[in-house]
Symmetry: C2
Subunit: 334 residues, 2 copies
């Protein structure tokens, strides 16, 4: 299988992108890559060209570019060319660590939506600190600023497939992020979504979940509108980071006793950090487009790029987008 890589997207591109690609190439003999970007810069970091093709371009989309305009105007940018390669069947999947909005726009305009999916959902994997699995899937975390009931329903179906086929969860527990656990909670969007999810016999819907319980492993798929999902995802990251920082500063400021304690607890802290680090599950997946698309964090290092590519490989191997397309093609209209 072949992955199209936007080699110029991300804070440490192309260096960390190239290194991550090489890690994945060395690990998985079935993977081939097409890297789009400045050939000289890519080659400066490439150790070994095996199963790696470079397509040169001087154009790239910057982090600050207005996404839709950039995708429409920069037709030879590394991102647009990579998306075009997927569209043309020259690659099976798309990777970028660059401008999220531009990746969204390129995926929608060039690769296109699966028929029956009105709005793809940005999907992320977060740690479950309790419960039967060590992680869970949440969508939409920000592909859409507004969501309708039918979008929410589709997010649930997309998440269900992803959890079952890529994360390997049997009969995933689907929950709706809401401001209370009772079924009549929330605004009309969430009340109606609750009913639709309850009525869908293909889904193992377990009811509402509050954001307080998010990390406690009570659901395998958390369905949310893009605005709330984005706020909650960033809040989880921000709170965890703020707490670790606060803890670190407090320890550094607490004299010899604190420093010694910190030293002794280094392995424990490392363990906590590992458990909270969800980058090992890959990047954010844009579910609902015609090919697997993964967005790695802009600040990704080579390991995070590697995990995102491993994730793309699982999605291609599970035939995820084909299965989703088949499901939506045979599903009764809403």
């Amino acid at each position: 299988m072949k992955v199209a890589i936007d080699a110029m997207g991300g804070d440490y591109a192309p260096e960390k992108i190239v290194q991550g690609v090489e890690l994945a190439r060395d690990q998985y003999p079935d993977l081939r890559f097409i890297l789009f970007g400045k050939e000289s810069k890519i080659k400066a970091f490439l150790k070994n060209g095996e199963r790696i093709t470079i397509v040169h371009t001087d154009s790239e989309i910057a982090m600050g570019d207005e996404p839709v305009r950039a995708v429409r105007q920069k037709k030879t940018s590394s991102l647009v060319l990579a998306a075009q390669a997927v569209k043309d069947g020259k690659a099976d999947a798309l990777f970028s660590a660059g401008n999220t909005g531009a990746l969204l726009a390129a995926s929608l305009f060039i690769i296109g939506r699966i028929k029956g999916v009105d709005r793809p959902g940005m999907t992320t994997t977060l740690p479950a600190l309790a419960g039967p699995e060590d992680s869970f899937t949440m969508l939409d975390v920000g592909a859409n600023a507004e969501s309708k009931v039918k979008n929410m329903h589709q997010f649930a179906i997309l998440g269900n497939f992803y959890s079952a086929n890529v994360m390997g969860v049997t009969n995933p527990r689907i929950a709706l992020l809401n401001n209370g656990t009772e079924e009549d909670k929330g605004d009309p969007l969430h009340k109606e979504t609750y009913q639709i999810l309850s009525d869908d016999t293909h889904l193992n819907f377990v009811g509402n979940i509050e954001s307080r319980e998010l990390l406690n492993g009570k659901a395998d798929v958390v369905v949310t509108d893009g605005f709330t999902g984005n706020a909650v995802l960033k809040n989880t990251e921000g709170t965890a980071l703020s707490m670790l920082k606060l803890l670190k500063h407090t320890i550094l400021d607490s004299g010899v006793q604190g420093k010694l304690g910190g030293l002794l607890l280094k392995p424990a802290f490392k363990q906590v950090q590992n458990k909270m680090d969800y980058s090992k599950h890959g990047g954010a997946v844009l579910l609902g487009v015609k090919a697997p698309v993964v967005k790695a964090h802009g600040s990704s290092n080579e390991i995070q790029v590697y995990h995102a590519l491993r994730q793309l490989r699982s999605m291609v191997a599970a035939n995820l987008t084909k299965n989703l397309a088949d499901y939506f093609a045979t599903r009764p209209k809403e």
Copy 2:
């Protein structure tokens, strides 16, 4: 000044409520209290009846009661009687640690809204781990499942008064919780709110804030719709709690070295916990009703009840609701 107390609301009522009232009474000679609830139960915990009146009632609203119905039907419940005392001018402020929805309903139906405020906002104080102040104010965190632009604007005005008059912040920095910092971010509600807040020359509006930055002290008042605010507040609490629990378990599981490290770091952990503990700023305030109303957490102990009463005292002393009413009375119509 006199505070009406729902002595039967809360997981540890009336014991912790009575103890908290006595702490506040001993600290502040200007405070008087009317406690509504079962006299025999209240008296069982009351050490000293100074400046405390008990109004006996056998009826109370349970945590699981449907709020609006309970308030309408249980007319002699401790909560409804306490709200009625405020309405009748027999008390200046209302305190409860019971059913939040019922407190909301009692405040709206019995005490009533300030003229010009369409929807009161539930307001909470959270820790600021960086920046010039040690805390910030956020609203609405869940009084409303849906909010309109004019509600959001009113939340900003209410929060601004609270921050300036009760938290003592000079020229509070007002920010809008949104899914990006640029002014065109968000759904129509958030885009329009951005414009309204920018145009209001009475507000020191500093732009959008992302939930990732919430605890980093970049704003003194964070304005949000009730649905997102509720999700983000619960997420902050949940993530912080989950992390502390994870850390604790990891330390306990990490042998002699870990346990020794944990012991040495006990003061540092305590310091972190103190910094994250925002109950010292009191409970959640329902801003926009005709008298100060505070909701303490259901699980409040006597210290938390004390802090909530201290907060009510500051609100009465600052003449907050009168100032708000004057402001809204003279403000041009939207």
